[in-house]
Symmetry: C2
Subunit: 553 residues, 2 copies
């Protein structure tokens, strides 16, 4: 009897969570990707979202390695937090590892982490897994699909991908290898669902170059192109086409400077001689000879582009005649902040080129027709849609069914589900601890933490503190209660009036308590809370967090 294959998604902001997926065979575990996510608005004050690796720590002795599909933070960004607790080797392509190592280095973990470079042609043997790869096109160079041959059958993880027949670096998605894998037989495919709401085929990266040509031809002043810092091909096109139009370039934004550096050193980015100038030197060049590359496509408040838009950038002051190109799409949830950036840019008098119809962006993910193509190439027995919220996975399932994959062989997993694929078919056999943990300041916390509920209440109606000093023996108040509020009422005079009334009410109640010989912090606090909560709601129709503080003297 052949051993089963187990697949366990372990982290992500969406339902399924492509950030980290554990694959188990013959008692050994290989983990594909180790990414982080960025918090949503409702995760108040949270800095980063990591996968909960409790399950991997429990099985620490069985975990062989992390294999990273490509160099985006949602696929490698959790490594610094994870490898200090689970120090296993990391595999990835050259550029992917270069980005990952730079992050590990920031955390002082570069020396203690074993990283192993692979290419699309590599073959590794890791315990029961024969690991190989296939080149895939994506919005970062050097992306890989991961192929795991096991005694249970072959697993293919597409990674994030698209089919690009005219890529900037000539490295197309290896349809030939995928077709051969399909001929040999694929047990299960884990496939990128991101663009399942988009009909048709995703355009080639080189289409963006056409839009850039026209923009550089028309622009009379400086051109500022903002894109993702990891989108080396986009940057390559901007730099190269700018060069053809007689423009040098400078870079604004820490992460883009870093990534351009890495990509140049490794040969992923080719920069014409003398084409790059320092941002501090841009005023030495005429505006029509300049391109400025910049971060900030998502309207992030501290990004280079936002700072330019709000007239707060130390080197780049926008002037009428400048052209700003936003060469990306807003990630869901960022629409308003991107819109606000555009408003500000237009007010500064610059020309702004953004949005789907301008041709300055194409997606890095397969659309519906591409997803059907991948299914036809690989003809997997089982399918796991990967990435996104439930509706994306669900639509991917519908798409695959209409392409001939029987519904009962398509699994929509939630984080922590253990899917077992064996001789008798596939089945969810267990649920392990998994999910999200939050990085907040120096702390790593639980997503269920009461702290977030408190922050929610604080952000709605503020807080009211009632401090009283009581005699520890008699419970008598030693002075008038001190009431302080923050984030509560708008009008200071009105607030003082309400607080004065509340203090009077409270003082009466404290006298009653002392009269009834009630002592003890707990009882007094509960009473203060009740009296104030009722009074405040009646008086203002608000429900601030009410916090009694009792000092016993």
């Amino acid at each position: 009897m052949t051993p089963p294959l187990r697949i366990v998604p372990l982290g992500g902001v969406g339902e399924f969570g492509k950030n980290m997926i554990a694959i188990e065979c013959e008692g050994k575990i290989l983990v594909i990707d180790c990414g982080l996510a960025f918090p949503r608005d409702e995760m108040l004050g949270v800095d980063l979202v990591l996968p909960d690796i409790s399950y991997l720590l429990e099985r620490a002795d069985d975990v062989l390695a992390f294999v990273i599909t490509h160099g985006h933070e949602d696929h490698y960004g959790a490594l610094p937090f994870v490898v200090r607790r689970l120090n296993v080797p990391v595999y990835g392509s050259r550029l992917t590892l270069a980005f990952a190592k730079s992050k590990l280095d920031e955390h002082g973990l570069i020396k203690t982490t074993e990283v192993n470079e692979v290419s699309a042609d590599s073959k590794l043997s890791l315990g029961p897994f024969e690991v190989s790869f296939a080149a895939m096109s994506h919005s970062v160079p050097d992306a890989l699909a991961v192929v795991l041959k096991t005694s249970a059958g072959t697993l293919v993880h597409s990674g994030d991908y698209k089919f690009d027949h005219t890529p900037i670096d000539g490295r197309t998605t290896d349809v030939d290898k995928l077709a051969r894998l399909g001929q040999e037989g694929v047990l299960v495919l884990l496939a990128d669902s991101t663009n399942v709401e988009v009909e048709g085929s995703t355009g080639s990266e080189s289409q963006v170059g056409q839009a850039f040509h026209q923009i550089f031809a028309e622009a009379r002043g400086r051109v500022i192109v903002s894109s993702f810092a990891s989108h080396i091909h986009r940057i390559q096109q901007a730099v190269q086409i700018a060069h053809l139009h007689g423009r040098k370039f400078a870079i604004a934004g820490r992460s883009m400077i870093k990534n351009v550096n890495i990509a140049r050193n490794l040969g992923y980015l080719k920069v014409p001689d003398d084409a790059m100038v320092k941002l501090t030197d841009i005023d030495d060049y005429p505006p029509e000879q300049l391109l400025i590359l910049s971060t900030g496509t998502q309207g992030e408040p501290l990004s280079a582009l936002s700072r330019m838009a709000f007239d707060d950038h130390p080197q780049v002051e926008l002037v009428p005649g400048d052209t700003v190109v936003i060469s990306a799409k807003p990630i869901p949830g960022n629409e308003l902040s991107v819109g606000e950036t555009v408003n500000r840019l237009l007010k500064a008098g610059v020309r702004v080129i953004y949005g789907a119809e301008t041709g300055v962006h194409v997606s890095g993910h397969a659309s519906r027709e591409d997803q059907r193509m991948l299914l036809n190439l690989l003809r997997p027995r089982y399918l796991l849609p990967v990435h996104g919220e439930y509706r994306h996975l669900y639509m991917h399932k519908e798409l695959a069914e209409s392409a001939g994959v029987p519904g009962e062989r398509i699994f929509l997993l939630e984080i922590g589900d253990v899917l077992e694929l064996g001789e008798r078919g596939g089945k969810i056999v267990d649920k392990v601890r998994a999910g999200r943990v939050f990085v907040d300041g120096l702390e790593i916390g639980d997503e269920e933490a009461v702290v977030l509920r408190d922050r929610q209440q604080l952000s709605d109606d503020g807080i009211l503190i009632a401090a009283v000093s009581v005699n520890v023996q008699t419970g008598e108040a030693l002075a008038a209660p001190e009431l302080v509020a923050r984030g509560f009422l708008y009008d200071e005079d009105y607030q003082q009036e309400v607080l004065d009334e509340a203090a009077a009410e409270l003082e009466d109640r404290l006298q009653e308590l002392a009269h009834e010989h009630v002592t003890g912090q707990r009882l007094i606090k509960d009473d203060i809370h009740e009296v104030l909560a009722q009074f405040i709601y009646r008086r203002t129709k608000r429900q601030p967090l009410i916090l009694p503080v009792v000092i016993e003297v």
Copy 2:
């Protein structure tokens, strides 16, 4: 010399603010619309956003009336807050007033407010304004454009509109009247910019009926159609087509029940005999004979649809076989919550029909081609793009320029700008106090209020309170300081550890202070704040709001 015309936008969430626009001529003011807005995420805890009417209050004796273009809350919803401070007559069409009166009634203001019904054919004389109207199609029936003939020339305010040549009620946008106005000469047009990012023409409302026909024909279980509660034509189509397919209907959602009631009573909504059943009786009918109309297209947490999706609706428990139609588009900013509703619905096993490609929604606003059409009909001397953020106004300006309106006759105003149109042209001559005020509980507050900054800080890192009881004469602490935190650290033990250390640090400092004979609340508080802020940031890398409370005994 003819007197000038003055136009002053007074409120809105966007830059320009279509919610309220004051028109002044010969010293008298007519106000078009009196709407509210809904708060954005960053307006923490705010319930509603109103226009700041300081300017109108200053000029109270000169304000003649409010004219309401149509029955959407962003055009009439501020009336209850405004008429109590500025009690002037309100004009509007029959349905618009019916909605507005229902709101005034909720606030007990129906008897003290003069409301005057007008129709598309009405002509009024209000001071220096000859007021007439034109029928416009929109996503609520009975919408009007407002025409003001003055000694300075003719002003046309389009209101929110589209061109619908096959509207549900047969009442098309009155292109004939608009063309005649154009022939007579229009000084200035205030035109709806909402859909200026959308190329082409907006489809007819009746197109949605075709999609509904197919859905009802295919559905085997119940059909739940969610739409805006004021979208009477959408509701009309759902009810009528359901009836053709042998379905009765019930309504979920307070606002929709109310609006359907109003629209039926006034004859705007025609319901077949016996077609309507109570929501509490739906289980008496087979699922294939039922339509449920529902609110909740924006994923609002307390709406009927959200409660169904989260299995929390008292009457409607969704089951596989049900079909849910989301017959609207997410308003920018609501994408994530609408997405989450869809996720939940799919998990409940129901079929969900949503999104642009399904044909279950068309916009109520003119697209670019329609906007060009309006310009060609009216051929205004001056143009004011109305509604939206700066980029929408800006694009509307570009569109109008390419349609032949000279750029110097197109004005992009900000809230509070006073545009004067006189014999010598148009010019911004003043800036008056205007903007947004917030309704929060029972209070109406200022948008610059420090309260919102406090809430922001509270929501990021929580709060730390340090209460100390000191001898009023000597400044000596009478007991150990009491430190309490909320929304601060995730781990309780860790938090206690940090607070204990902070308390020790603080105690030392208080002894020093007493030693140095420092007394007085202010000084002690400042000192406590400094000591704690430094310690806490060093120890946790967070910056909670730090609030010292000193009780002098």
